[in-house]
Assembly symmetry: C2
Homo-oligomer: 380 residues x 2
């Protein structure tokens, strides 16, 4: 059977992937008296008197909401909240497996910015953090910003920031392999959606100086009159050389290609034009901007994709479990850029000696999440 | 240590009582490919094509939201959503323990009817049912009604209907003990809130003919001008003899007292006035309307309370796990009165030979929930 067939069988057999179980015994009559009535009144009263005790006596201290409207699920597009559930359950399972975090899918029967924000605020009391997931750009930016302003628990849009952190970590190691400095490189980013925007901002924070961003209509530059506000912001932050036009005309001498866009955006000829020691991250899912063998043949030194069947998989699962572990452990109320930078450095350091085929560690390595968590806590 | 002290210790040790765990293996790289990317795309696509497949491939088929605004928690009153969490976690733990149902607490940062309804509708996609919990009357009635109209998953306010079903089951057996027919009895119900209202309606459906309801100001009758709409409805359904005034003046010759009100409402003298073979259900929590020994001394034949430290505990935990098991198994979209009646009969039948001290079965008996589930399915 193929992977899709086997996945379907797995999902049907278990009716999904996660379950809610008791952490306390419920076998004896006395167990019920402690976990439920009458004993349960005591923690209730303590929390009523001192709301901060909710972290002491309830699941809030260890629980994250995975909030999605199903508008940008994997590479499948706007398939809606019901069809998004398998992804959210998968994330919840990984949260627990890699970082002991309890996560629950909150998929929403609305795609309106203000309704999403209102709903997340109203269900927030039981959660210690909010992982936004698979929400389309540009409304994901507004939702995250409004939630950050209204909530005193951390909010993290994984498609933006999880991706950005893994990309930066992979890039740190790819640069080691080719012996270049980030601040000296020319970078193009293909894709100006949620992931592309966050990648650009984190690269800038890490010291990148020369980034040009491309959407499906070409380079983002100050002459474009078709840009939404988040793309306008990118124009202000990037493109110091005033590049305009198509990617293929701007690729000469570029050191790093970062693709979070569409298959076919990058060709072998374009990789050849990048020149010596090119770094190609072709992360469109499921089909990359260029297939790794083609990029290699055209001379790329380091190639990464989003896929598990090629070397160097840029996978958000490296980050989100440990990142939230750190946020919850330190009871952080706002995620900062410094936390993301520290997490990227920590992930990069998980690889002792980076090589062209090994710029990221083994995804199954259980020591990664504790290191990410520790990095997050280190910059409080 | 006392029960409250030990309960506090238990809650602190585990940081609450429930956790979210994976039902599928996540040890090997291939496991990740099936549970997460790329395999997860296949169930997503199936559900996108046929939304009913969400019951086949996701947790929705087995998962209930426990929705509360924290406005009427146990006997503690309006302590708010954070302080309500321990109760909701306890219910979730019992759901799993007694009926294998996955339940998750959704406690809301609002006590506005329309906001509660909107929020529950928006988070509904991931749930197969909604258990409303600890929401104050009269807004609980409106919330339940609106949610029933807007959702195609079952909605069940446990404080109303769970209580009503257990009370009716206990009453069936108490009547066997004293050899009376429900339709021939005089009944008083003390308390016209969520529980009292639902108890009255289910008793009427079961054949009760003569019920008089009392709130803190006396009997509900057509001359009262201080009644909200739900109490006005009770007036239309009850009080065939036109009783007015205080409970103590109306208790003569009453067969059944059902208290869901306040300690001290019923005295020994009043129980004496009830006469031969009186049935007293004094279910105010944590302190009953009358203590069982006092009621017994005054001549009551059968006494029940809400407490685990006396015989005949009228406990919702007999009902809600199995009731939702039945709803989920049959994929019921609306709860009906007949389901409640069938569940009450099934619970009553769990006791072979009812006695004055045994009108309800052992709460730990794991055969109860399957019987309740079967009863719910039997009236589809």
């Amino acid at each position: 059977m193929t992977i899709p067939e086997r996945s379907l069988e797995l999902h049907e057999k278990h009716h999904g992937k996660i379950e809610v179980v008791s952490k306390v015994p419920l076998e004896a009559r006395e167990d019920l008296s402690l976990a439920y009535t009458p004993g349960v009144a005591e923690p209730c009263l303590r929390i009523a008197k001192n709301p901060a005790d909710v972290y002491r006596y309830t699941l809030k201290s260890n629980t994250v909401a995975i909030v999605s409207d199903g508008s940008a699920v994997l590479g499948l597009g706007n398939i809606g909240p019901l069809a998004a559930i398998p992804v959210m359950e998968g994330k919840a399972a990984l949260f627990k497996q890699f970082a002991g975090v309890d996560a629950f899918p909150i998929v929403l029967d609305t795609q309106d910015v203000d309704e999403i924000v209102e709903t997340a605020v109203r269900v927030a009391p039981v959660f210690g953090g909010i992982n936004l997931e698979d929400i389309a750009a540009p409304r994901c930016f507004e939702i995250e910003e409004k939630l950050r302003a209204r909530l005193n628990i951390p909010v993290f849009h994984d498609d933006q920031h999880g991706t950005a952190v893994v990309v930066l970590a992979a890039l740190f190691n790819a640069l080691k392999v080719v012996g270049k400095e980030l601040s000296q490189t020319k970078i193009v980013v293909s894709g100006a959606g949620a992931a592309g925007t966050a990648v650009v901002k984190l690269l800038l924070l890490a010291g990148a100086q020369d980034i040009t961003v491309f959407d499906s209509r070409g380079a983002l530059h100050s002459g474009r009159i078709d840009l939404n506000s988040s793309k306008q912001e990118l124009v202000r932050l990037t493109n110091p050389r005033g590049v305009s036009g198509e990617l293929k005309n701007a690729i000469n001498g570029v050191d790093i290609f970062i693709g979070v866009s569409q298959p076919g955006v990058l060709t072998g000829t374009m990789v050849q034009a990048m020149g010596r020691d090119a770094i190609v991250f072709a992360m469109a899912n499921p089909t990359p901007e260029i297939m790794p063998d083609e990029a290699k043949k055209a001379g790329a030194a380091v190639v990464a994709t989003g896929r598990s069947d090629f070397p160097n998989q840029v996978n958000n699962a490296f980050i989100f479990p440990g990142f939230f572990r750190g946020l919850l452990d330190a009871r952080v109320s706002k995620v900062t850029e410094e936390m993301k930078l520290a997490a990227a450095r920590a992930l990069a350091e998980c690889v002792d000696k980076p090589t062209t085929e090994l710029i990221l560690p083994d995804i199954l390595d259980k020591t990664i999440s504790p290191k990410i968590a520790s990095a997050v806590r280190s910059v409080l």
